[in-house]
Subunit: 225 residues, 2 copies
Amino acid sequence: MKTDGDPKIVSPSTIRKASRLGQFSGPTSGLALGKAQANLVILPHEAAFEFLVFCQRNPKPCPIIDVTDPGDPEPKQTAKGADIRTDLPLYRVYKKGQLVDEPSDILNYWRDDLVAFLIGCSFTFEHAMLSAGLPLRHHAESRNVPMYITNIQCTPSGRFSGPMVVSMRPMPAKKAVQAVEVTARYPRAHGAPIHWGDPTVIGVENLGKPNFGAPTPLTSQDVPM
Amino acid sequence: MKTDGDPKIVSPSTIRKASRLGQFSGPTSGLALGKAQANLVILPHEAAFEFLVFCQRNPKPCPIIDVTDPGDPEPKQTAKGADIRTDLPLYRVYKKGQLVDEPSDILNYWRDDLVAFLIGCSFTFEHAMLSAGLPLRHHAESRNVPMYITNIQCTPSGRFSGPMVVSMRPMPAKKAVQAVEVTARYPRAHGAPIHWGDPTVIGVENLGKPNFGAPTPLTSQDVPM
């Protein structure tokens, strides 16, 4: 990606443009610090109400940032001029629950009945964590955060249900309370942690084997959070 | 309404039961202090997604407390065992924008495709205002709060659009900042005021003529808020 300076402070529109031109396809942790980051879910209109109610019932894992009008690829409320079909680094296309494609744009998949949901992402509060002097071990390792399926069931809505997934950032024990305070200020980016301390309490048995992302080693002073 | 003590602290389930039995049909300001109050909107499933997106885009006037599954009259997330068709003091039925009925229950109107939305209500933070020593002039007058149509346009979603409506509580000028602080802690009950001071700034020309509710006189120390 061509940047106009430090990639950590490169603007969201620069990242979107680089993604649109096929010049960037990586994870966005550590980019555009200080700006809201989001996850993308696209569904047919037929399933959109059920899913939006699922998000309303589970605001901790699924804080809604923006919802597009059916068929409109522009997230007008949050990123005027952006195109949801081309401006993300990479997409995953699922059919009947199976991953069928991982394209760099979804122009060929777009339909007039599709609705896009932008859901808050914990990358958003990493800037505030760094500013507060809280370490981000996955930045030092240049890896994506590890993510785990917990034993906490979300409140279902129609066909949508399932366990909560959490990301984990190792934190020095003496800074853990401060990390709760800083992240709690970002409820639309998941906010404060679900838990810190013993991961088995939320059903995570092996921190070394995340369900998604890359494992992040803990130092002897760290607690998982 | 038969109450088990002071009506101000009567429980929500007692108010729902009295409404169900036809023993109560008044406004609920000042009742069940300390509990969340809500407004009710019921729409066919066909319009439910558009309306929920309207609420997502306008969280200040339309903070969502609960959404029922289509056809289910029980607001399971917030009031287990309640029946949305009978447990409110009074209903208004609209057809093509026209008020056609004002029944005490809607059992005859209920359909399998109806979705109920509970939307946060400013009555919720009145308990906190009283506890903080902030006056509620409409309580003293035993009236509903006055409400006004402003010149602030909501962000549309499909067929749903229109200006924001505000309630007004006269507040001693020296307590106005404190009133902002107290109400700001209740974002799901509209939170802090949209404005205080000169009502013409938000398009309200005559405080004596509210669009809904009853006018509330200001003392010489009060500002409209």
